[in-house]
């Protein structure tokens, strides 16, 4: 999400350059004004004057500065922007600090304590958002990104330890290899998490762009709502209330559970928990009764949509948008190294010989197969183990076991 803010430093009669900001790609003019206030307070303007542009010299006519969100990605192009960026540094969000800390984290990897230190630091950064910029979309964007950053820290300590061990076994550039390995692992984790949770990132970005809406029902119609109004031909009509007004009061509350308790009903822990009853196998009569109740309650589909809903619930129709891993939700929790590193299952086989060779080929193929679950792979290996144990005599005759 890039927002280009073009700074027009125009020459004024007073000679002091007045910064007027215009923005491309922002629809709302009000928003730009708000941004201009937050990013260019008076103090900054004075510095701009002192540092770069004196009254008599010709100021820069245009310069493009990329806004606060993207300062990590682009190098500032002119001296103007350099001063601006430097001024912004003390105000940069938790995100920047977090990135610095992450890069510093490369060399010293003592896992848990460091993560906790990071988290506590990040939680301190967050309340430092400026109150004036609270309503602007930029702060929402920053919050969304900091939340994303928080998720990236959740690498298991074993993986981190393994990465450090691998890096130390490499001959050259240990810290760099380790940081690269950790980066890959983090990327992998974030990808899988994004995949699991669906499109949460995009929603955050989309929301960040939207402005906080004003109260929708601020202006109610002047006339009383239910009064019949008369048309030209004398036939009256009532103003369509719609469902909106009825739920207005409900919607005005931010959530369902705010408001004072009425204490009408006693709280839930009134009845003590009875000991769990014995669960007997449901008899055929019970099953039949349950089926009968279900059939009575189930309504026949009134239209094609309801029919499709019913089929989807039955499992006859796929779920849309198509999920390639529809039946395999548990499988996504299995970490990748259990799929790939299957050598440990080969312990029962002989160390040398054609059988071992054969099994190594089998394991090689299985590790490259993305369509099987780990359980299925294990079943394959077990079957071979049993088979070779049964055929032991034949193999010993041909000196293969």
């Amino acid at each position: 999400m890039y927002r280009r803010i073009i700074l027009l430093a125009t020459r004024n009669r007073s000679g002091i350059s007045r910064i007027a900001e215009h923005s491309i790609n922002i629809t709302d003019q009000q928003e730009t004004k708000r941004i201009s206030v937050s990013t260019c307070p008076n103090r900054q303007r004075m510095l701009y004057n002192k540092g770069v542009c004196t009254p008599n010299k010709r100021p820069f006519s245009t310069s493009t500065a990329i806004s606060k969100e993207n300062e990590e990605s682009s190098a500032p192009k002119t001296g103007v922007t350099e001063a601006k960026v430097k001024e912004k540094e003390p105000k940069k969000s938790g995100k920047e600090n977090l990135l610095d800390l992450l890069s510093a984290m490369k060399i010293d990897v003592t896992t848990k304590k460091k993560f906790q230190a990071l988290k506590s630091q990040k939680s301190k950064e967050q309340p430092r958002v400026h109150p004036e910029s609270m309503e602007s979309a930029t702060s929402m964007f920053q919050k969304a990104t900091t939340e994303q950053q928080a998720q990236k820290e959740s690498l298991s300590p074993e993986l981190v330890a393994a990465a450090s061990a691998v890096a130390s076994s490499m001959p050259l550039k240990k810290s760099q290899t380790e940081s690269e390995l950790l980066q890959q692992l983090r990327k992998h984790e974030s990808d899988t998490e994004v995949h699991k949770k669906g499109e949460t990132n995009n929603i955050g970005n989309i929301i960040a762009d939207m402005k906080v809406g004003k109260h929708p029902n601020a202006r109610s119609p002047n006339r009383p709502a239910n009064q019949i109004r008369f048309d030209d031909d004398g036939r009256g009509y009532t103003h369509d209330r719609g469902v909106v007004n009825e739920f207005d009061a409900v919607r005005r509350r931010k959530s369902l559970f705010t408001g004072k308790r009425l204490n009408i009903f006693p709280s839930t822990t009134d009845t003590t928990e009875t000991e769990p009853k014995e669960v007997s196998v449901p008899s055929l009569w019970d099953i039949e009764l349950a089926g009968h109740i279900a059939a009575v309650i189930k309504h026949l589909p009134r239209n094609g949509f309801e029919e499709m809903i019913q089929w989807t619930k039955d499992g006859k129709l796929w779920q849309y948008p198509i999920n390639n891993e529809a039946g395999l939700e548990e499988e996504s929790d299995v970490p990748f190294h259990e799929h790939v590193f299957l050598d440990s299952h080969l312990e029962d086989f002989p160390k040398q010989g054609p059988v071992r060779h054969f099994m190594e080929l089998v394991i090689n193929g299985l590790s490259k197969n993305p369509y099987l679950t780990v359980k299925q792979k294990m079943e394959h290996i077990e079957w071979f183990r049993e088979y070779f144990q049964q055929k032991e005599e034949v193999l010993k005759e041909s000196e293969a076991y």
């Binding site: 054609p354 059988v355 060779h357 054969f358 080929l361 089998v362 197969n369 369509y371 099987l372 299925q376 079943e379 394959h380 079957w383 071979f384 088979y387 055929k391 034949v394 193999l395 005759e397 041909s398 293969a400």
Partner: protein, 136 residues
């Protein structure tokens, strides 16, 4: 893996409406079940698909042992005999893709599982979404 490949091939195998199929209930007595497959040949094809699904993994592993240059030949000969001892309906080669509506063994388009005659009939009556008469 073989099982999942074959499960796509085993299309309607798990509908338990069969034409006069004999099944053994939990109590052990043989019961007749009336069903609605088009003809006996279709039923037999269904049974072959179910059996091929069951034995798919075993056949895959046995073939992996047989088609091999590493394991000793005696073992491979024994494996040959074992795979020949599997029931005949368990091999996927015996499956024939039939039309779902008419059980016609020939002229079946794989994507719709219909024979050409039924396909044409439905398409002309506008029952096939996205199908249009070609004209160019």
């Amino acid at each position: 893996m073989a099982a999942s490949v074959l499960s796509r091939v085993v299309k309607s195998g798990f509908e338990f409406l069969q034409t006069s199929f004999r099944i053994t209930s939990q109590a052990g007595n043989v019961e007749q079940v009336r069903g609605y497959y088009v003809n006996w040949r279709m039923l037999r094809d269904v049974k072959r698909r179910q059996m091929a699904f069951e034995y798919a993994n075993d056949r895959l592993r046995m073939n992996a042992i047989r088609k091999n240059t590493i394991l000793p030949k005696e073992l491979q000969e024994i494996a040959d005999k074992e795979i020949a001892a599997f029931p005949r309906d368990s091999c996927p080669v015996r499956i024939r893709s039939r039309c779902v509506m008419t059980s016609r063994p020939r002229g079946v388009k794989r994507r719709w599982r219909l024979s050409r005659i039924v396909f044409r009939h439905l398409a002309d009556h506008n029952q096939m979404p996205g199908i249009q008469r070609a004209m160019w």
